[in-house]
Symmetry: none
């Protein structure tokens, strides 16, 4: 039997609040989501004016980060043609993505969920996701210690 | 040209807050979502302990309510075999559903979004969705007046 | 933060061994699978002669049992036309099923996974799934006590 | 009429056992699967700690190896832009993949199934798949002689 630590709604809301503040600070309405360690949606927000088509992309970024246990941006270099993971972006029924903006949320070294952000440029998405991930890390990274 | 009234994130959060309070009052963790008038996700929450498989069902209930402009529960009688709308539950790539728990959110007679709830019994889902829809109606039904 | 108990591979193999013995005892080759509490595949076996098309059905039965926290057979009465859950069999991208043969695996009252069986008659599928679930319950139901 | 040689469950378990031992030896929890010559799943195992998102990828690697009759790694050079097979990684509803870790299982020169491994680096996946394929070849490559 395995014992798993999973992000809960209150922690997810903490991530979303921090990410939303950053999105407001840079003036970019965003879709912001949190999934759990198994890739299932825990919480989502579309800020007024965010692109409707980007909500699914935000969810896919979070899914990929939770599933690969890596920031989506860090996966990008190995999926270009000729690299070992070329083509992985077509996996998971096309949901696997290396677009910047998906970051795993980690407690005591274990992935408990992930945040995904999409609607701005990839740099803006990454910045907002980082704000969410940083807020999580500050409060929960050593949760079990 | 058309001018559309669409639910925003702050109103969606108002709906989710009220629905979540009702779910807590009856002791049933729920997936609670709000979509806009175009069926796109605005906000979602999975309360700790809610069924993972029911998040998509909650989204589908809200999608159906926004798309049909009717409460999903009220659609059920006409989709049984022999009735005019039999088979419609397989439409929209299988996302159309007449399971209770999806309710349109209305301003001045116009659907601006919908709430969807799923994880409990259909009666529990309906009660929680009604709490969200009622809170919306109390504050926003006559919004433009 | 949530702490989750999840079935591991060794427990899943214990379930599959017991189910396979029962399938051999009744002379029906079966697809037998175990998913975790989030619906993800942990282990699968197709006995020689089992129907290829039924592997996905076995996985869907286990997914449904884990997601609904009920035996798929017990869901069947409420999904017929006129009942509250009519149409739910089209949810989860068509993967939700009330065909007999999916049973949740429970530790201390909490669903940690599910077994799914398909290739025989629904009665044969149910009997083989029950053999797997019983073997799990005998060894692990009070695991944490 | 055709007579087909197809891997059975006992041979598939032999492959999975060998691959799992190798995964344990290198300390990388893996998803390990075997499909038959028609691409249908015969057996699957997710070792505790393996990535949930990689189970489908493991299945897709095995499917591709059985379907193309080549190791997925050997397909990679011809799918990059400008090469003849560019784009094939999007075929088979996105399931075709040239990620290393899928290897056909061969008896008397004929593909009877394939093994697929995913959760580690592509080098780790390949090493574990090779361990499974080697164990198969040692015992069954000349099976009919």
């Amino acid at each position: 039997m395995q014992v798993i630590t999973r992000i809960g709604l209150s922690e997810a809301n903490h991530v979303l609040d921090a990410a939303q503040r950053q999105a407001e600070a840079i003036g970019v309405p965003q879709n912001i989501v949190v999934v759990d360690e198994s890739g299932h949606l825990v919480a989502a927000r579309r800020m007024d004016g965010a692109k409707f088509i980007a909500m699914d992309i935000a969810i896919n970024k979070a899914l990929t980060a939770a599933g690969s246990r890596k920031a989506t941006r860090d996966l990008a270099p190995v999926v270009v043609p000729g690299q070992a993971a070329f083509g992985i972006h077509a996996q998971a029924n096309g949901r696997f993505t290396t677009l910047a903006g998906g970051i795993p949320l980690i407690v005591d070294g274990v992935v408990v969920g992930a945040v995904g952000v999409s609607s701005g440029s990839t740099a803006e998405d990454q910045a907002v996701a980082e704000a969410g991930a940083s807020a999580f890390a500050e409060r929960f990274a050593g949760y079990a210690e």
